[in-house]
Every structure is written in C-alpha cells, then in structure tokens.
Symmetry: C2
Subunit: 863 residues, 2 copies
Amino acid sequence: VGPSFSRPKHTRTVTGLGPSEIKSAESSIPEPQRAAWKKNTPQEFQTKDEFLSEAVRHIETTLARSLFNCDESAAYGGTALAFRDRLVMEWNKTQQNQTTADQKRVYYLSLEFLMGRALDNAMLNTNMKGPAKDGMGELGFRMEDLISQERDAALGNGGLGRLAACFLDSMATMNYPAWGYALRYKYGIFKQEIHDGYQVEVPDYWLDFNPWEFARHDVTVNIQFYGGVRTYQDDNGKTHSSWEGGEIVEAVAFDVPIPGYGTATTNNMRMWSSKAHSGEFDFQKFNSGDYEGSVADTQRAETVSAVLYPNDNLDRGKELRLKQQYFWCAASLHDIVRRFKKTRKPWKEFSNNVAIQLNDTHPTLAIPELQRILIDIEGLEWSEAWEIVQNTFGYTNHTVMQEALEKWSVPLIQHLLPRHLQIIYDINLNFLQYVEKKFPKDRDMLRRVSIIEESEPKRVRMAFLAVIGSHKVNGVAELHSDLIKTTIFKDFVQIYGPDKFTNVTNGITPRRWLHQANPRLSELIASKLGGHEFLKDLTLLNKLENHVDDKAFRKEFQEIKYANKVRLAKHIKNTTGVSVNPAALFDIQVKRIHEYKRQQLNIFGVIHRYLAIKAMNAEERKKLAPRVSIFGGKAAPGYWMAKTVIHLICKVGDVVNNDPDVGDLLKVIFLEDYNVSKAEIITPASDISEHISTAGTEASGTSNMKFVLNGGLIIGTCDGANIEITREIGDSNIFLFGNLAEDVEELRHNHLYGKYELDDGLRKVFDAIQAGRFGDANQFSALVNGIVDHGDYYLVSDDFNSYCKTHDLIDESYKNQEEWLTKCITSVARMGFFSSDRCIDEYAEMIWNVEPVKPKAEQVNGG
Amino acid sequence: VGPSFSRPKHTRTVTGLGPSEIKSAESSIPEPQRAAWKKNTPQEFQTKDEFLSEAVRHIETTLARSLFNCDESAAYGGTALAFRDRLVMEWNKTQQNQTTADQKRVYYLSLEFLMGRALDNAMLNTNMKGPAKDGMGELGFRMEDLISQERDAALGNGGLGRLAACFLDSMATMNYPAWGYALRYKYGIFKQEIHDGYQVEVPDYWLDFNPWEFARHDVTVNIQFYGGVRTYQDDNGKTHSSWEGGEIVEAVAFDVPIPGYGTATTNNMRMWSSKAHSGEFDFQKFNSGDYEGSVADTQRAETVSAVLYPNDNLDRGKELRLKQQYFWCAASLHDIVRRFKKTRKPWKEFSNNVAIQLNDTHPTLAIPELQRILIDIEGLEWSEAWEIVQNTFGYTNHTVMQEALEKWSVPLIQHLLPRHLQIIYDINLNFLQYVEKKFPKDRDMLRRVSIIEESEPKRVRMAFLAVIGSHKVNGVAELHSDLIKTTIFKDFVQIYGPDKFTNVTNGITPRRWLHQANPRLSELIASKLGGHEFLKDLTLLNKLENHVDDKAFRKEFQEIKYANKVRLAKHIKNTTGVSVNPAALFDIQVKRIHEYKRQQLNIFGVIHRYLAIKAMNAEERKKLAPRVSIFGGKAAPGYWMAKTVIHLICKVGDVVNNDPDVGDLLKVIFLEDYNVSKAEIITPASDISEHISTAGTEASGTSNMKFVLNGGLIIGTCDGANIEITREIGDSNIFLFGNLAEDVEELRHNHLYGKYELDDGLRKVFDAIQAGRFGDANQFSALVNGIVDHGDYYLVSDDFNSYCKTHDLIDESYKNQEEWLTKCITSVARMGFFSSDRCIDEYAEMIWNVEPVKPKAEQVNGG
Ligand SMILES: Cc1ncc(COP(=O)(O)O)c(C=O)c1O
Ligand SMILES: Cc1ncc(COP(=O)(O)O)c(C=O)c1O
C-alpha cells in the first residue's frame, strides 16, 4: 500500500445477486472497464491444441510439476483442471441465465450423493473427450490411465445416493434449473479392504486433491444448536417465540458444477462444510495455556460434517447424525430463502418459485425449519406459513422396512432443537385435530398416525412428519408405491385420499451407465440408430429390435460383452490374484451387503453348486457350464451379520478356487471396495446379475437396470423394479423365482408359530459349513442359526429351492448362446423406460411443476 | 475406462529426483513428447495485457466469479493467482537448477516464519508491479485496495519469526540454495481485538484462501511417537537399538515459493502439516458406531500442527509443543537425508552438502534425530555419526533470559521419544567425560554444564544440547553475543574455546521494509543514487550523506514522512475513531507486549506527561510540542501482566483523548492486531520509536532498524542492536537513556536486599492510578505492586527519571525541525549495515560455508 492517491475504486458485492441486481451491477460498471474485462475473458478450448496448452499450463503452475516429473497423477490433475475451468465458465453463464429467467427452481435435498468420478463424465458431457485424449496422447499418456487416477466422490452408501447423482445429471441434461444440496463429508464412505477374508475399513481422504469443487468462503450460514425458546407478547398482544442461546456452527458452501450432456447447462451441487464459528474457538482454554483443549472445540464443530454414516437402510438415532441433518437442512433453507427474498416477491409466491424434494426422511427437519423461518423470523401467520410449507415440499420414500424408518427421540430433539420440537408438536396437534374431525371417535387412528410415537422415550416419526408437510409423496417403483399405501402410510391414504401418493419408478442416467461405462456398446448402438440421440431419449433404443437378427450386429454385440468380461477378468487378476476364464458365465451380485439383499442366499447357492460339482463324475462335470460367481459390496462397519457374509464368501472362495476337482467350473470372487467407478467396470461384464431381495424389501434397485442396459440378464425375485423390468423386457428374458411379497407375512408367521422345515438342499449346505469345510464353523453359527432356529426372517430357506432350480435353468439357457444373445439384445432394446430423464420429467410434471430454462444461444455454441 | 487397447504408457515418478535422475528422466521421454510439452509450456506474463488476461482467467475459472460479482477480494485473488503461477514456474526452474548444480544447501529450521503478505512482495521482487497495477486499473481497481485484501501469513510471534522471513528473502535474493522448513499451523498467531480496553483473542483462519502454497500430497513422512526401544545384538555381536511401536502421525508437505529480488532464483519454504496416518483412524470405535470417537483420533493427529504457541520469549513445557518440535524436526530431517541420499555420495560428505541452522533451541531435537538416523537406521558408528552431526548444525541463540530457555522434563521425553532420550544421555556422557578430562576434579563444572539439570523432575537443557551438537553458536547482536559468552555459556567458552562462539548482528530486508513499506522514500533514494542498486547493497545508502544539504531532497524527504503520518492517522481514525494531528510528534512503540520490553515504562511516562500538562497553564501548554503516543502489540493469551499493561494503555487513552484540557497536545492510541502488514504502515510513520527494554534483556530487536531506515529516530536503552545502531549513525542521532547491562544485577540486588526508593515522578504516576483516574485501581494493583513492593525486576523505577528527561530532550530537539531532519537523513544514510543480506553473507561465510548458485541465463530473462 503506497501513500494514498486518487483512482476510481469499486467495491462490488459478493455472490448471489438477484435478477435485477445483476443487471444493475453490470450497468454500474463503466464501459471501458467492461470492455477490458470482455477482451480478457477466457475462451473455452475447442481443439486438441487448445486443450493441451491449458492442461500443461495447469501441470506446470497449479500443480508445480515439470516435464520430467509429470506422472499419471499430475497428468490427470492437469486434464481435470482444464475441464474444471471449462465447466465453471458454463456454470457462471448458466447461473446468471437461470437467475435472469426467474422461473421456479428445484432444490434436491439429499444427505447422499454417490457421484463417483467426474473427469470422464465432464469430457463426455461436453463432447471434448476426443481432443483431450489426443492431447494427452501426444505427451505419452493413455486417457484410461489418467481417468483411473481420480478418487471417487463417495458421499453415499448405495442406491439412494447414486439415484441422487443420476438425477443431477438428468436435470442438467434436460435444462431444469435445479440445485442439489449436500453435506461435504470430509471422509466419504470408508474404503473397504479385505484382509484374511475379513472386511477392514480405511478412511477415504477424497478431499486431498479435489479439483471439482469451488470453495465459497464468502457464502456462510451460522447454524444454531441447543439453547432455549423465549416466548413474549408484542405490543398487539400477539405471542412470539424466539430461539435463543446455545452454540453456533458455521456452514461454508462448496460448489460442484454439474454439466448436462449435449447442452451448455451446468447446474450446481452445493455442499456444506462445517467449521467453528469465530466466537466458538475456546479462548478461555487458550488463555490458560490449554491449546489442545482450545482446538478441541473447533474440531467439534468440524466433526459435524466429518463422516458419512455408513449405514444403508438402517436408523441408529445418533445425536451427531441429527446434528448433520439439521445443519444441512438449515444451511440449505437459509440459502434458498435468501435467494427467494432477492426476487422481492411476496411470500405467497414462494412455492411458485421454489420446489424442494426430500430424498428420504433425512431432510425432514427442513419442514419445521421453513415453518420456523416463516413464523418466527418473517412474521407470517401459522396457517399462511403452513400452506407455503406444504406446497413447497415433496417427499420420496425409499423403504418400508421398520429398521430403516427414522424416529428421533423427543428428549434429544428437545435438547438440540427446542423450538423445532415445539413446532413439530404444533404441526401434530393441528393434524390430529383435522383427523379427529374426519374420523371422530377413532382413537386408535389418532394413536397410529400421530407424529409422536408413545414409546419410552417418545419418538418423532420422521416419515409421518414428511408426509404431513409435503403435497406429494412418492415411492420409487410400482410395487413399492403400492406397498407404502397399504402398509406404513395406509391411514394417510384414508386421511388425505389416494392422490397425495404417487409413484416415480427410479431410473439411471444412460450417459454414465452406458456411454461412459460401455463406450463400445454405445458406439454400436449409435451406428445402428444413426447417432447418439438415444442418450437423450432412451426410448429410441426400441429401434434396436429391428436389428436383433442382424448377424454383424449380433457378433459385435457379443464381442463387446466378451471384451468387457476380459477387462473385468484382468481387474480380478490384478486385485485378487485369481485367474478367471472370460468364457465362463459371469454371475455378479454387487451392492451393499445386507441381510434383506440376501448375499447369503447367493453364497449358499454357490456352496450348493460346489457340493454338486464335487459329487459329479468327470463326464457330468464336462457338461456343466463354467461359472464365475462375483460378489462385491461394503458392509456397514457395525453390521456384524453382513460382515460374516463377506467372510463366508471369501472363505468359500479360498476353498473352491484352489480345489483341483473344480478347475474352471466354478470360481468365487469377492471384489474389494465396490464403488461407482468399479461399478462402471463391473456392470458391462455380467452375463447374469443377482437382485434377489426378499420380496417386498427392496424398494426399487437401480443396479438391476444398469446390468440389463449393458446386455446382461437378471436372476431376481418379484421385488422392486424387477417387476417393471419384467413388464418391459418380457418375462422370457428374465429369471424370476421365489415367493411373492403378499405371502411374506404368512411365511414369517409360520416360521415362528407354525410348521417349518428347513429346505433339504440348504441343510446340506449348512452341514458342509458346520463340518468346517470353509474354516472355523463357529464363525458362521449365528448366520446359520438365524435361519435354522430364529425364524429365518428373510426367507432364505423358503426361496432356496426355487433359487437353485432357476440357476440350473440359467445354465441350460446359457448353453444356447444364440438364444441367450437374442434375450440380451431384446432386453437392451426395451430398457428405454428406465432412464432417469424419464423420472425427472415425471417429477417435474407431477410434483414440482417446473419448466426447463434453455441456455442462451451463445452459450450453446460454447457447450 | 474403455476396453483396453494399446498405446504407449508412462508412469513417471513423484517429485524429488536426484541430479542424475532428472537427466535420465528427461532423456527417457521420447522426443516428440518432449516437443509437445515444450510447445505448450506456459510463458510468464511480461506486459499489462498478458497479466490481465491471466488474472481475468483466474477470476472466471479458479474463483468462479463473473464481471458483475468480481469484488476486491476476487480481484486480489486473480492477481495473486497470476503471480503465483509466475513464481512457481521460476520455482521449478530454480529447484532443477540447484539440484543439477549439486552444491551445498542451507536448511533454515525455524518454528516461526512471520511472512506477512506475499502479493506486494511478489510483484516488487519480480519487477512486475507496474503492469499489474495498470491492468487492474483498467478493471477499475486500485492496487492498494487489492493488496489489503490478503491475510497475513502470521506463523510467528515477533522478532524471531520475522527474522526468519527476512532471511528467506535475502537468501533468495543472493541466490543461495536454501530452504526454510516450517510448521504449517492451521491457526497462526491469534487475531487481537480490543473490547472495552481488554485484549480479546480471535482465531486466525489464514488458510481459507491461500494461493501461495502448493500442497504436496505425494511428499509425506510418517512420524513416530511414544513406543519403546528394542535392543539386540547382530551376528557380529554388535549391539543395535531400534525404536518400535507407539503411534504414527503423517507429515504432509506444503511448499511456498520465495522469490528473490531482481533475480530469477525462487527458493522454497516447506511447511509440514500433520494428518492422521491411514492406520490411525479408529475403526474400532467406528465399527461400534462411535463416529465422533473415531474422528477424534484423526483430529488428535491434526492437532499437532493446529496452533502456534503464542508465547514470545517464554517456555511453557507443554507436551503438544514438544510433539510439534519433534514432528517438524523429524519430517525436515527425513526430507534432507532423502535428498542427500539421492546424490549417492558417502556419508562423510553429508556436512559438505548440508548446512542446517537452528533458529533458537526449538529445533534442537534435530540433533539427536540425525544421530539416531545415522546410527540406528544407516548403521554408522557413534563417533563417525557424531562428527557429521556437529559439522552439520549451527545454532543461533536468541535470549539469555532464564524464563525463555527451553528445558524439557526427562519423563516427558522418555514417554514421547524414548530412543532420543537414550541418545541425549549418551551425548551427555561423552561430553562430560571430555570435560572431566579437560578439567579434572571440577565437579561443580560437571554439574553446571550437564545437559541434564538435576532438578525434580530432571530436565534436558536444550540450549546446552544445541551448543554441544553444533559447530558454531551465534548471538544476534554484539552485546548479546558477548553476554552469552559471559553468562549462560560461560563454561562452554572454557571448554570449547572462544572460536565456537560468534556474532551475527541481525538485519532486515530492505525490499519489504523500505521499498515495499515506503515506496516514495525508495523512489527518492533511487533518484539520488541513480537507481535501485541500494536495495541489493544497502551500504550504498551512505552516498545519501552527500545530499543532506540538498534543499529539494530535504523537502521531499520531509513530505514523505508527513504523507506516511497522514496515512497512519487515517488508519487510526478508521480503526479507533480517534483523530490525531499528523503534525504532532508520532511516538511509537509497537512489538510484543512483555514486561522486559517495558511498555509499562512508556505508559507511565505518558501519564507523567499528562499530569504535567494538567498542571500547566495555557501559556506553558502553548510551548509544548503536540504528541501522539502510539502503542501496538499482542500479549500472550495467558500473560496476565502484559494484558494489564494493554488495559492501562487503553484506559489512559480513554481519559487523555477526551480531556478538553489536553486537546492535541497528547493522544494515546492502542492499535489493534499488530502484525507485519500493519508494521508496514506504522514503521514509515514514526518520528520517534521506543526500544526501551531493560538493559541486557533484548537480544537484538529488529524493529529499531526498520524505524530508523524509514527516517525515524529512536529513544532507547543501551541494549541489543541499539548499541550498534548508535555506533553506525552516531550518538547525536539517537536518544539513549537508562542503566547499563553491567549494572542490572547490582540494582536488582539492591531492590531486594538493599536500600531502594521509588522514583518520585513515578510515585505521582502511581498515585494517579491508585486514585482511580484511569478506572478501577484494583485492576492495576499487581502492576504497581510489582514495582513498589516486589523488587521491580525490570528496573522501571531506576530508569524512569532518565526516561522522562530524555523525552523532554526529544521535545526540545523536535522543535528544531531542520536539525531533526538532518538527524533523520543522516541516520538513514548510515543504516547500510543492517541489511539482512549482510547477515546472510556472514552466516554463509562463517557458519555454513555455502556458495550462491546463479540462475541459468534463460531463467534470468524470465525473472
Ligand atoms: C456403488 C454403488 N452402490 C450401490 C448401487 C445400488 O445398487 P442396487 O440397486 O443393487 O442396490 C449402485 C448402483 O449402481 C452403485 O453404483
Ligand atoms: C509484526 C512484528 N512483530 C514483531 C516484530 C519485532 O519487533 P521488535 O524488534 O521491536 O521486537 C516485528 C518487526 O518488524 C514485526 O513486524
């Protein structure tokens, strides 16, 4: 700073201007300054050479590397940074364009976004992979090697989180003005290692180098916890409540650009990171020399966004989890309300400007929080506010399983969020009065539908609060949407009528799950369909049926599958050391390890097959189709039964893979650390994949769709989206087995109170386990006893026989390779329905009532 | 990842190749690939337009901002990033060049580096400030406003840390191949706020946006703590020790480029950040659902580099501090040894390749650590290793005050670093045997010089260990270097002879402290000296004496001082609300608040002056020169007495500044949050600055040099560098007062045991305080009693009278403005000696024995 002299001085404001403000901010800038800016505005690279100069610049500057020490990680970094720059330019234009358009926006609140890697997606969605690949080739790097340097953004557990990620892709691709709101976990889902056949968890340091996020240190929200409620009367005698005291944790925004495919629209995923509020650094301790103690507080604040809870479909009721939920809901709502207020529209316009989708009950606190903002802070009347709230929210249910339904203890909420508890009680009171009017005298109904469960301690049923606070509730597949209406929300259908409940069958983005994961298949399809239009309208796939008899097409289709199996076989060899035969039938079950998903059924089936092989003579063995049984998936760290299943799979693998009697006929593989990027290698390589949950437990499943779209068949139960997949592709193209959802209750009852006999084949399997053929039998006794003695809740025994028989059928069927191929091709052609684009259109139409915003013409050229 | 196909594949290695490896790595890359790289290598900007396009690109991409929301912080960010890119290109070339040169390198180990801001320094050192200023001007921004957006890198307490920063600047400027090794505190020294006249500490989030560092996630070192020592015999019967078990914390490197002035050399400061070692994430707790607990461990690891200990010249003996010291020493040594080993030279060459300077005793553990590496890991014999150790290290002592001398409890070291304690005992044994041989029968000598103090508990005297493990020990000013030889190291002079002890009087970098802080004065001097050469050879300043009678020069000199005072007056108005008259005499004392620095003497003097003014009649008042007494500095959070002094200053200010009797005659200002960037505003604005430590306590002081170099005079005691400043500028140009160091002991003795009478003037001051004229007297009773009743350790009373008289002299002297101006100009002309460049040359010559490495010709053009 030199001694003062006079020059013009600008202080421009921070991010987040309203539509009119943008205009006035721009026009307030003198013309010469605008000209200077425009002249220097960076241009998006369009050619190999332009890309390469960006990438090398980043390697030498941002990454501080030189020619001689540029390894693959640096080359990845440079490529990623070049693309990140490109995305952010489009991001800026999109945000400005959407703000100016001033239409209704969607906010997708999800505690999980299982994004996977971003680079390949960015290259493909911007249609710039060719130049990048060629450019890096000139430096001697292969693009696949660079892509594989990236760490997954693994901010989720499984299907629910991946769905949110697919939805972001679809919303951007279809130009919907939509933001995702996420929590920026410092550690995503743990990394799974297998040591001695046991799962070992290792932390995921995904943020060490993350070029895909932009820190917004100027976008912060103070989030309050604890404290108390002060009630007072104003001059007009009106009573007000005010939440006061307690402690503050600061939320800092980090933005991730979400590029649409074949459009310049680049939406935003905003992640909140927690940090100590300045005032929260404990200088009392600091002063007295207790430096460790003084940072402990800061660290406590940072703990809020530190770890993703690694439970899939399980509620644990931990205080920190509740803190996470409120922290993220409150920060997001503050952001949304602030953005709305800048439009200067009246409050009654709020739900015409804002649609908020609750992905499961995790963000349900957003309901009382918005009500609180409106009545306590903005001064609206209760009923006026409540109408806005209900019109704003939509709620997606993901499960009917009791153990997964969130219920928060009342004392815990009282302690952490005293004002919200009051509001929840008031919501409940109003609701019950309404019910009582509609169903006078039905005391039991009141008890059943109350938001407050009369347990000890009392608990808040979050799903009920979500239903009551939303204008639409949807399930994620037809069966599941029917089930919620007949089970957990049965009373609510009576109360609100059936129209409040709807179905949006899940989908997947064909960009990542076909074009990116299986580029050769995508090319082949494009060659037959005359272009890549099907990636934006997946129903066009149906034209493939015209080519089902086309020899060359069939051959290429089959070769692609084989090549994908070779690629997976290499991965298996590299990671497990086991050689598998790519000509064998690849039978894959990859997903979270969970009793309801029944990996135990699968491994028992494998043992059954192993015992059969052992009992065969050489002649018989020759007739058998070789198989590779592939498993993958994480168990929640505290889920002991799931870990036992992993251990059994590994132990069976040890025995089977080294048994000379068996050879190529059977291999059993457990793939470490299943995640999105591994799914991209695994999914295109299946002949059969397993989706064998106990009927009525899997809400939809999405990996089933991914496997079929990539030309693999399914063995599955009549559960979740399997049913709709069957409807679409035809029941001759899927291997269904097992009991139906409607019979589950009866069967369970029989297990406990009626006559129940263990399946005979299964008994032999258990005998082998108990004889120690797969190591110490004690290790597996709880698993076996759960089925033999403790009611077999997931009906493994009931389905075992039909499961094994169906596998025999599959063996048979696979022998006729031509017929098999026809099944695969036909199935692919009929999968058009399962695009997440279709889901988003349904949400937009039925639930959100939003319209796309086209990118500006000059932007389209850029994109 | 697409299906596999064949293309060439490179896996290049991570950073840190040896000289021969660089060559072979480069030549292993096929020519076309090298050509592709070279073609795309980014060029350093040279013009305004080139700069502007870099800056705008960064604003739009890295910072994701647009024209309409580019505020000053974004404009700063873009400018900083453009310069950071430029620095890193030179950094890369410099490192490669120095590695190839393969000369001896210096490693400067300092637990504190008080760097301040980097942008202005980068612009000036690369001679690119003009283009940047013009470019940002085109966008409507003033460069001073942008510069002031940057947060100080405040990784230090005071003089010791700032010295390290000045040394880095000098080493780069003079092309020495030198690295600084630092700890990357997440929170630097706290931010000081003043509330109601009390110091309040606020955390310093300096890392939120720090474009000046490069994360090196691939450069990590595992640091061990705790555990035990295993002793075993090898096959030849030789005994080995091995440190095993305990816990691991990972050190991650972050590099900060240090650009030299007017040279392309860009050196490195490597900061270590602590992080949990993967294995240290507590998955036991994680598994059992204790997620908070599981991160707690990770956070404990991160705590190691979390906070800078905010004590200046005070040892507190906290375990975490010891952990910090070892963590940083071990990581740095590992790095240094790794770099040496890549040269493939024999161990005896180590100290011909490596010089390590210990800035104070904080890095003393590097001595036993290097010994441990050499004997336990590399298998050298003890004596061979010890010779290498001694030849490698140099130790700079910074204090003779007992309370500042580090002594670590033996049980603590035993617990944390069991093997190091053994080695320290062995070092001590060898040393004492040597002493015993030289001075047989002098038992008391053995007790006095032992590294182990026989206290309860026993303690390790780090200063003694540092002396014994180094080949040279230096003090930081002549008086101080004499004092260490006659006090704390007296016996060691006997043992080793006087040549082991030397002096390097501290210095300051004229780039930051003249050219950057006072650009107009730098220009004026350049205009008289025919260029800026003096910034690289400060002794050229002496030519200014030829111009001391040049009217125009004198006028401009005076105007510059006035403008700098106006600038400070504005800052005072903005931050405190108090208007001060720039024509008044600005009397400044800014430095850490410490009893030995005697801000209390100053404020008592101010009160004395206030009482005098109150007692004057109007006539007398008219004759008095108006004064502004300016204070600034942080008190350690737990240093109660220092905080009381701040409180008294503020309270006196409240009274004096609002007393209508006083008006402009006296203003008392406390400036909040004194740090390097504020020092750059404050230093050029003094008429008088105060350096009034009790004689014998301040080792050197460096702000005294800064003030004089900027044309201010000094009131000071005969202490530290004041003495040499006097010798250089002449005793008529400085206001010295007070007792001498040699008399201090006697005076203290008299206070306690002899006759002692409180100074009369001081008594009146105390009477006023005790009468409550500056608020509640109880608040100040400890401060007053310490002087009246408890021995007045810092001799405030003894020096009070001469202090006040000297201020009267200053008033007198200031009246003769022409004479005053002559003193100022003459002083500036004679300050050439105090450049840190001179220090570095002395270190290089006397202690390190290193030579500069010239940047390559093509690089010089770039720089
Ligand atoms: C990593 C990952 N986990 C879980 C899932 C969901 O699998 P499922 O639908 O089989 O539960 C997917 C879907 O692709 C996935 O990629
Ligand atoms: C911020 C800061 N603190 C402390 C010091 C050292 O001051 P002194 O030499 O007066 O102790 C300096 C020197 O300029 C400084 O810039």
